[in-house]
């Protein structure tokens, strides 16, 4: 089936070549990081996790969000999602791969990464995150392989795979829950120390991930016949609307507790994000951009007429994705380290090298989605 990825037009190859160029630039930067150390990044003694881990967190959410198309189709037999579930699963596979890459580039001693397995520490959430993500990747590779093969042969997928798919539903929830636990169990980091973190992660994931899926569907059907019904897109848009509303509600709840309660430890990271702290306000414009985009997107999505218009829907989805990317792929991790344990307010600005490495991993993800969607399109148009 993979051979279908080799049969593309000029634009397809040009796009893949462009992505490869980005990957090469990233590899060059990573080689430098490998030689010199993580000192080539903007990370510091006080902000020791930054863009890499934040991107990891965001894409765990994107990966988990496949569940919003898988669940209605397989649990509720919602037929309109029949042709889109596999696309959701392919996005999940790409996102999990990106997560693995983000973790890898974040390691100080990448050659020792497998120590996590060799000296497995079940008390560490990082161990469980690895188990959850590895398992999720395996589940989705199995599911897509089997269901697409069945589609190619125009037969029903075997019965056993249904059970695997059902297992993938709670598993998707688990990957993002465990990722939230990675943060929310640290006594010295009040910004993350909230039971609402896992629900917030899931809400924002179920908005950002499906928003991306809608954009991909709208975009791809200009060239390839992926025949995603309008009804399916409308329904996913509705899911994005609810999830975004839930996300904003959770964010507001958190803001109330923090700003009304006025416990300094909890207040300061939020003050840093929204207003700046001790004159340090690198993230403030980003935070407000995120808020603005999210609220505007919710406004659009809540209007049925706007949701029905393809251009406005696309704009809303872009806004949702960017807003949540800023919130989770940037602010969430950095603000957790502010103020530093000894009260100082450190600044974190990623370096160009760091950003290039991140772009390279995005390019890998984009290439994977391209190839997977291409194969799916080819299977659907060419037939057996």
């Amino acid at each position: 089936m993979l051979e279908k990825a080799l049969d593309g037009g000029r634009r397809y190859w040009l796009w893949l070549a462009a992505l490869l160029a980005v990957v090469c630039a990233a590899a060059w930067c990573y080689a430098l990081q490998l030689r010199v150390g993580l000192g080539v990044t903007g990370l510091t003694r006080d902000v020791t996790w930054g863009l890499y881990i934040a991107q990891f967190t965001f894409f765990v959410g994107v990966a988990a969000s496949a569940v919003v198309v898988v669940l209605p189709y397989y649990l509720h037999d919602y037929k309109a999602f029949g042709r889109v579930t596999i696309l959701g699963e392919f996005v999940a596979i790409s996102a999990v791969t990106m997560c693995g890459a983000f973790i890898f580039v974040d390691m100080g001693q990448p050659a020792r990464l497998l120590n996590i397995v060799r000296y497995a520490a079940p008390g560490s959430l990082m161990f469980w995150d690895l188990v959850a993500l590895g398992g999720y990747l395996l589940l989705n590779v199995t599911i897509t392989r089997v269901t697409l093969e069945a589609e190619r042969c125009q037969t029903a997928p075997p019965q056993w795979v249904r059970r695997v798919i059902l297992l993938s539903i709670p598993w998707a929830i688990s990957i993002h829950t465990v990722t939230a636990f990675l943060y929310s169990g640290l006594p010295g980091r009040p910004f993350w120390l909230t039971a609402l973190l896992a629900p917030r992660f899931l809400a924002s994931a179920f908005a950002a991930g499906p928003a991306l899926l809608i954009l991909l569907c709208l975009f791809v059907r200009r060239w390839w016949d992926l025949r995603v019904a309008d009804e399916a897109i409308r329904k996913i848009a509705l899911i994005v609307t609810y999830a975004l509303a839930a996300h904003l509600f959770f964010a507001a709840v958190e803001l109330f507790t923090v700003f009304y309660g006025q416990v300094p430890d909890h207040l300061e990271p939020y003050r840093y994000l929204y207003f700046g702290l001790d004159g340090h306000a690198v993230l403030t414009p980003w935070t407000w951009a995120s808020v603005g985009l999210a609220v505007a997107a919710l406004g659009l999505l809540l209007t049925p007429a706007a949701r029905a218009r393809r251009s406005l829907l696309a704009a809303a989805c872009v806004a949702v994705f960017v807003a949540l990317w800023i919130e989770k792929g940037l602010g969430l991790v950095v603000a957790g380290f502010i103020p530093a344990p000894l009260g100082t307010v450190p600044d974190y600005v990623p370096t160009l090298r760091e950003v290039t490495i991140v772009a390279g991993i995005w390019a890998v993800g984009a290439a994977m989605v391209t190839v997977f969607f291409k194969i799916t399109a080819a299977v659907r148009t060419d037939g057996p």
């Binding site: 003694r45 990448p110 008390g123 344990p341 000894l342």
Partner: protein
């Protein structure tokens, strides 16, 4: 017999002999009553030697701690911080005027309930039976989860190769390599041969007392019984084993 098994058996025999003989070397490992090692810092005595850096220098020289000029990549095991940051974090108003702006020593607290060891995915950092929160830089993968978990900022990550920043490396102790986390180890290498931590030994004011909290007559036990002491951020439940005697 395979070589590794032969070596294993020999090592096992060695350990048994050492334990039986009550070897002076293996005081941490050779059985006996459980110990609870702790440090008390007499803040007043420390302040008397205003501007003194004897403990910091002794530690950093003994352990090849690099002097990295870039503060973002700094590595430190024991250092001084203003009172307002180290102890009276939320309570600057409670500080007598004389103490404002004064500095106090901070180091790894060797918590009785350490969050850093809880999160470590490889067991590269762990709490020993005697209470020392140990570090195995050979096993560390450099994920920095422990740095995120430490509420005291006591852990340093090697963002670059530290060796060029160690002016006079001593062969008695390794330097570290880029990409691993390090911190104060209560001088476990000195404890193993029956010596006190380097900082305690170096203090000209006798402001640092180190010992076993569970030993009735120990100096540290007596000091803590007599004087009022505080610990850093007790509300977090980490139970630091570095006490600040006020």
């Amino acid at each position: 017999m395979s070589t590794s098994r032969r070596v294993f058996l020999r090592l096992a025999a060695t350990a048994a002999t050492a334990a039986a003989a009550g070897s002076a070397l293996g005081c941490a490992a050779s059985g006996g009553a459980r110990r609870r090692l702790a440090m008390a810092i007499d803040v007043r005595k420390c302040l008397d030697v205003h501007g003194c850096r004897a403990c910091v220098d002794a530690c950093h020289e003994a352990h090849n701690v690099p002097a990295i000029p870039d503060r973002a990549h700094e590595v430190k095991w024991v250092w001084k911080e203003p009172f307002e940051r180290a102890l009276a974090v939320r309570e600057p108003a409670t500080l007598p005027a004389a103490l404002r702006g004064s500095e106090v020593l901070v180091l790894c607290n060797h918590c009785d309930n350490p969050p850093c060891t809880r999160v470590c995915p490889t067991g590269a950092t762990w709490k020993r039976d005697d209470g020392v929160v140990a570090m195995d830089e050979h096993r560390c993968i450099g994920c920095r989860y422990c740095v995120a978990a430490c509420p005291y900022g006591s852990r340093s990550f090697n963002f670059v190769d530290p060796r060029p920043f160690v002016a006079h490396p001593t062969s008695d102790y390794p330097t570290r390599t880029k990409g691993v986390v390090e911190k104060c180890t209560f001088c476990e290498e000195r404890l193993a041969v029956g010596r006190l931590p380097a900082c305690v030994d170096a203090c000209p004011a006798g402001a640092m007392v180190f010992g076993d909290l569970d030993e009735r007559g120990s100096e540290i036990r007596k000091l803590l019984n007599e004087r009022y002491s505080v610990r850093r951020r007790p509300e977090l439940g980490t139970r630091p084993q570095v006490f600040y005697v006020i």
